[in-house]
Symmetry: C2
Subunit: 147 residues, 2 copies
């Protein structure tokens, strides 16, 4: 990371702590050989995997099953020049195990659009990176890092 770019690198625990405060993230993958990005709600599993819920027939589920994707969340105040962003990079997998599906139906993320054919997608937290914007006029710590 360029030390002059006004950002501070966050460690894995800081990243996961901030990610847990975000209501929405963005799934980034490749679609028809072009970069694609889509906001989704999510939650973190106990092992810090990112959990999504979507319709089984959705383009998203078909596009990312078995593929390395990025998942990003951020909270940026453009006026105050403060905020953070976190990216989880790892393989996405549609959960096919019925026991695991049952567990996630009870504890996993809710779908924005109800569907009896929902599936859960896990994104393994293989690479977790993040940065805090520290180049602004004011420098409050990220929300989850406050006392």
């Amino acid at each position: 990371m360029n030390p002059h770019d006004g950002f501070r690198e966050l460690d894995r625990q800081e990243c996961l702590g901030l990610l847990g405060t975000a209501p929405v993230g963005r799934i980034v993958h490749t679609r028809h050989a072009l970069p694609a990005v889509l906001p989704v709600n999510f939650c973190l599993d106990a092992d810090s995997a990112v959990l999504l819920r979507t319709a089984a027939e959705s383009e998203l589920a078909q596009a990312i099953d078995g593929v390395v994707v990025a998942f990003e969340a951020d909270e940026v105040d453009a006026r105050a020049h403060s905020g953070w962003s976190v990216v989880v990079t790892g393989r996405a997998t549609v959960v096919t195990d019925p026991v695991e599906h049952g567990r996630l139906s009870r504890t996993g993320p809710r779908s924005w659009v109800a569907s009896p054919q929902d599936v859960f997608i896990r994104i393994e937290p293989e690479l977790v990176t993040g940065r805090e914007l520290v180049g602004g006029r004011t420098r409050p710590p990220p929300r989850a890092l406050r006392g």
Copy 2:
């Protein structure tokens, strides 16, 4: 677009109208063969190109010059299940023309971190897509579409 996925496709004018209301977007590209995503401030040029400003020596400027990237902005209320997202896909180019650089220094986006070596990056609005989340319990129109 799947008609059952709870989203309404937005046309190009709706997309650009909404994009103009967003203070922050996210640049999506490929880095070391992995998807990468980074929040940035921006503004739209008169021809609807997305304009970014960053340090000339930044990793971002070097990574995306001449490359097709995606630029995403959204406003999602996860509780109300409402919101929108817009993606501009097109070639990113570092502005090298001194006259154009001068114009953008006056009218273009401000940098979060001041640097005398700032460059401007244009993303051509070759493909502009967006969707409104309409599967929620409440369905207010996107902010920029209200009367």
